[in-house]
């Protein structure tokens, strides 16, 4: 579309540009700067003496120092996770006792008393209710502790320092330094992380940031890591070190995610997305004392509840589906069994099993429901009985012990746990992130790559780990 008026104006503009020469941009910027400096100077009175001690500078010198920058990052993240691991058990045990040990048998009793049809009872109570109850008792406690802590760090102003520390590393990987910020967003939610890549101007570097964002552990996957690590890694060491060992394992997985981000960025920027890293300036904002109450409120209401709600929304129908595929039989065996048996050989190659792979497929809409789905399938298909029975008996058991018991009964070993932690980090992004990627890139090709690249990497990595593990451990 062109307009006559527009053409006329453009002609004049071109003629004038010819006359004024090329330094307009510099002149303009300089004029603006001069004006701004003059006006600001008149309005601001600086203190007579610089304070001898500048707290912000001092903190910055330490947290962004070459020597201490990285260790401090790891220690801070480790502490956040350690606190989560240690504290999550208390509410988790309470919720587990309430929802699964008490209410679940009660609902079954009510259903029996009113003579509810067995399949309605199955879908509603063994399917929808149990899946939802598991999501709440297993996922809610770590979330409710992790998010506020993470948000406090963010509110304090630590994230830009992380970006500052990682900037040169990302540059070396051929990616944009700001990718460390979109990665940090990805630690919350990958879909949000993908959107935040808009701060990167170069389309090449933006694509790299989008494709690798999935390697940042998200909301839906932190609790998975924390639970598995608590049950299996924590059990490897004496009790007083269990929390620390579990936290260390989770930090290890998160750091592995960062390393994979760098590695994949490096490969991409030297193959399909060739080019130089562009420079930018990053502003380190002042440290601000976090507003604790507001942060608690915002992170519990906005983050925890929203994520939990999303998990429930996906878990409830998933629970119904899982119950159906576990109870609708074809030729004497439930559908789920066919799926599990079909995927089992492949799963075992990866150190996983059929149940876990089915769970990852069911959980494509939301990573949050991986663990609940695994539990459901293990209980329903594995023919396990006695879950929630005898409410008083299981009272002393905490939820981790109960969850661990179910998983071990499902044939889990330490290798399974390690493989699940790895595969949870390295597999296809959730459907929301895939859709967001499509919206941001507008390209089916890049969306497909973003979805499949980590999946195949996950297959490859878990395969090698499992083979080597079996060779060494036997």
């Amino acid at each position: 579309m062109t307009s006559a008026a527009g053409t006329q104006v453009l002609a004049t503009a071109t003629a004038l540009r010819w006359k004024i020469g090329g330094n307009l941009h510099e002149q303009l910027v300089e004029a603006i700067y001069t004006d701004a400096a003059r006006i600001a100077d008149r309005a601001v009175t600086r203190p007579d003496r610089k304070p001898r001690f500048d707290l912000d500078r001092t903190i910055d010198r330490i947290v962004t120092s070459r020597v201490w920058g990285f260790p401090i990052m790891v220690v801070l993240l480790g502490m956040v996770i350690w606190i989560t691991v240690t504290l999550a058990n208390i509410p988790s045990a309470f919720l587990f006792t309430l929802l699964i040990d008490t209410i679940y048998p009660f609902l079954k009793q009510v259903a029996a008393n009113i003579g509810l049809a067995w399949w309605i009872e199955g879908i509603l109570i063994d399917g929808v209710y149990l899946a939802t109850a598991w999501v709440i008792s297993v996922m809610l406690p770590p979330m409710a502790i992790f998010f506020p802590l993470f948000t406090l760090l963010e509110d304090f102003g630590y994230l830009p320092r992380v970006a500052f520390n990682l900037d040169s590393t990302f540059k070396k990987a051929g990616a944009h330094g700001k990718q460390s910020l979109s990665m940090a967003m990805g630690f919350g939610c990958n879909a949000a992380g993908v959107i935040s890549t808009r701060i990167i101007d170069s389309p090449r570097e933006k694509l790299i940031a989008i494709i690798t964002n999935n390697f940042a552990l998200c909301n839906g996957r932190w609790p998975t890591q924390i639970i598995i690590a608590t049950i299996f890694i924590g059990a490897l060491v004496p009790g007083y070190m269990a929390g620390a060992a579990a936290a260390l394992a989770v930090v290890g997985v998160a750091v592995l995610g960062v390393l994979l981000t760098l590695l994949v960025s490096w490969v991409l920027s030297r193959s399909v997305l060739k080019g130089e890293a562009s420079t930018f300036s990053l502003e380190l904002p002042p440290y601000r004392p976090p507003r604790v109450m507001q942060t608690l409120y915002t992170s519990i209401i906005d983050r925890t509840l929203i994520v939990l709600w999303r998990a429930i929304v996906f878990a409830a129908p998933a629970g119904a589906v899982i119950w159906l595929i576990s109870n609708v039989t074809i030729g004497g065996a439930p559908i789920a069994e066919y799926m599990i048996n079909f995927l089992n050989p492949f799963g075992l190659l990866l150190g996983l099993n059929g149940v876990i792979l089915v769970a990852f497929i069911v959980a494509i809409p939301a990573n949050e429901i991986v663990i609940p789905t695994i539990l459901m399938l293990t209980v329903l298909v594995g023919g396990m009985t006695g879950v929630g029975e005898g409410a008083g008996v299981m009272f002393e058991l905490n939820s981790e012990a109960a969850t661990g018991a179910i998983l071990r009964a499902g044939g889990w070993t330490l290798l399974t746990a390690v493989s699940v932690m790895l595969f949870s980090l390295i597999h296809n992004p959730c459907s929301t992130t895939i859709y967001t990627t499509y919206k941001e890139t507008g390209s089916k090709r890049w969306t497909t790559i973003t979805a499949l690249l980590p999946l195949f990497m996950g297959f490859a990595i878990t395969f090698f780990v499992a083979q080597i593990w079996r060779l060494v451990v036997g």
Partner: protein, 272 residues
């Protein structure tokens, strides 16, 4: 914005008693009377101001570049409904990253009734760079001199009156995190939106003589071809700078359509 006790009946109508007057509308933004844009450098607290006024809880974080898409919300004040648009933070309107484009396009084509430039009192000089550019695009600007609490902590004194006089637009000192100055801000937005306060914004000086001539010549041409366009000087500047987006807007006649839309804000829905 805490109302300390109920205002006495005499106070209710008085514009000084604003706390009771402000109605946070959240995302309920039907039939707004005025559109207010929130612009500013990254990490100056735009989203915090946004939340304080609308009662919404846009995620705020202490790092630049958090808001990449614009968020919208509303509030009601003195019987007028305001639609508030939180724009991504930008250092300037002259460059071409995606988040900066969103802010620039909205100011230019979305034509807000009032633009609030949130500036960091601690980094006034750099923040004014953007404020001056915004003031080139639109007259109706209110400067929200935010983070005054931090400025006090650092022993800085910022003379808001002096600043207002030099800039020719209202300057409201605030600490949005603690809700300080928000009452004055809504009041000032109201004054400017209703036209009771007429801004005489500072224009960028120190352009060379030949450039000044070129700008005014081209601005006159733009004015002739697209009568009614409010920011001809800025359009001329951008065209002389060879801004491809602006050239496209001119070529396609999109600018002309804008000039037709006298009722500002009518276009907002369409500029995505």
């Amino acid at each position: 914005m805490t109302a300390k006790g109920l205002p006495s009946s005499d106070c209710v109508d008085c514009p000084v008693h604003l706390a009771g007057n402000l109605l946070k509308l959240g995302v309920d933004m039907k039939d707004w009377d005025f559109v207010v844009a929130l612009a500013g450098n990254p990490n100056t607290g735009k989203s915090t101001v946004f939340n304080a006024l609308t009662g919404l809880r846009q995620h705020t974080g202490n790092w630049p570049g958090k808001t990449v898409a614009r968020a919208e919300g509303g509030y009601e004040f003195a019987d007028k409904r305001y639609k508030l648009v939180d724009l991504p933070g930008t250092y300037s309107l002259l460059s071409t990253t995606q988040d900066e484009e969103i802010a620039r396009d909205f100011l230019l084509f979305g034509r807000p009734d009032v633009t609030v430039v949130v500036v960091d009192a601690n980094r006034l000089e750099r923040n004014l760079n953007l404020a001056l550019q915004v003031m080139e695009i639109t007259d109706r600007v209110v400067i929200c001199l935010n983070l005054m609490d931090e400025a006090r902590r650092h022993g800085l004194e910022v003379d808001a009156r002096r600043l207002a006089r030099d800039l020719g637009v209202p300057v409201v000192p605030t600490s949005a995190r603690y809700g300080e100055g928000m009452d004055d801000l809504v009041h000032m937005i109201d004054e400017v939106a209703a036209g009771r306060f007429v801004c005489k914004p500072h224009r960028i000086e120190y352009l060379s003589r030949s450039l000044k001539k070129a700008v005014s010549k081209l601005a006159a041409e733009v004015e002739a071809q697209f009568p009614g366009l409010p920011n001809t000087r800025w359009v001329a500047l951008r065209l002389l700078d060879g801004d491809p987006q602006m050239r496209q807007a001119v070529r396609s006649g999109e600018l002309g359509e804008l000039a037709q839309q006298v009722g500002a804000g009518a276009l907002i829905g369409e500029v995505a």
